[in-house]
């Protein structure tokens, strides 16, 4: 079946612009995760959904970051007033349920100029 998809794959934003990154999880997967990966480092947890409920947003770096999953399927990560330090690859992962294997999408590479 189809894996996790993310769009856009690449996004260039001018500092101060708002961006929205989309994640389509594997159909039927209850859990959805967002991670941020800087160059040469491992992914850092941002936030986690169980169905439509955002159960953990402890990794969001600031209140400029907002994520939603209104119908328990597609999720959007929104970054307001982007800053240069927001430049990174944003990864989405889904799993059948908590504690199961996480399957990652290809990521969105965000560059803030």
């Amino acid at each position: 079946g189809a894996g996790v998809s993310q769009s856009p794959r690449y996004k260039v934003a001018k500092r101060g612009q708002d961006v929205a990154l989309r994640c389509d999880p594997i159909s039927g997967h209850v859990s959805l995760f967002w991670y941020q990966q800087a160059l040469g480092q491992g992914p850092e947890f941002l936030t986690y959904f169980q169905n439509e409920a955002q159960l953990d947003k402890s990794g969001l770096p600031s209140d400029r970051f907002f994520a939603e999953r209104p119908e328990g399927s597609v999720s959007t990560l929104k970054i307001q007033r982007t800053q240069q330090e927001d430049s990174a690859v944003y990864l989405c992962a889904s799993s059948f349920d908590r504690g199961y294997e996480q399957y990652f999408g290809p990521g969105t590479r965000l560059t803030v100029t």
């Binding site: 990864l91 504690g99 294997e101």
Partner: protein
Amino acid sequence: SQQGEEDPQALSIQEGENATMNCSYKTSINNLQWYRQNSGRGLVHLILIRSNEREKHSGRLRVTLDTSKKSSSLLITASRAADTASYFCATDWTNAGKSTFGDGTTLTVKP
């Protein structure tokens, strides 16, 4: 930090040799997962091992988990040039299922 840490940071071997990577963590975990990431690509899930398991196999991959030492190892046997990638361990230490990653081991397999 609850972060898993991979060791070594970089490993270079000849095709056909075995590659062993280690992961250490600091607190009790529910499970540990190993991932592969090719340059500029997404993460590919390799193996999940739960805290009550000691060893798992998948093809040329063998993962062990020693909860008393809070460590795990990933063994790739008969390596191929296509195994060249970064390998990450991710620990799930909460009941929420979120994972904490290390910074990875960069494996280079020379043809």
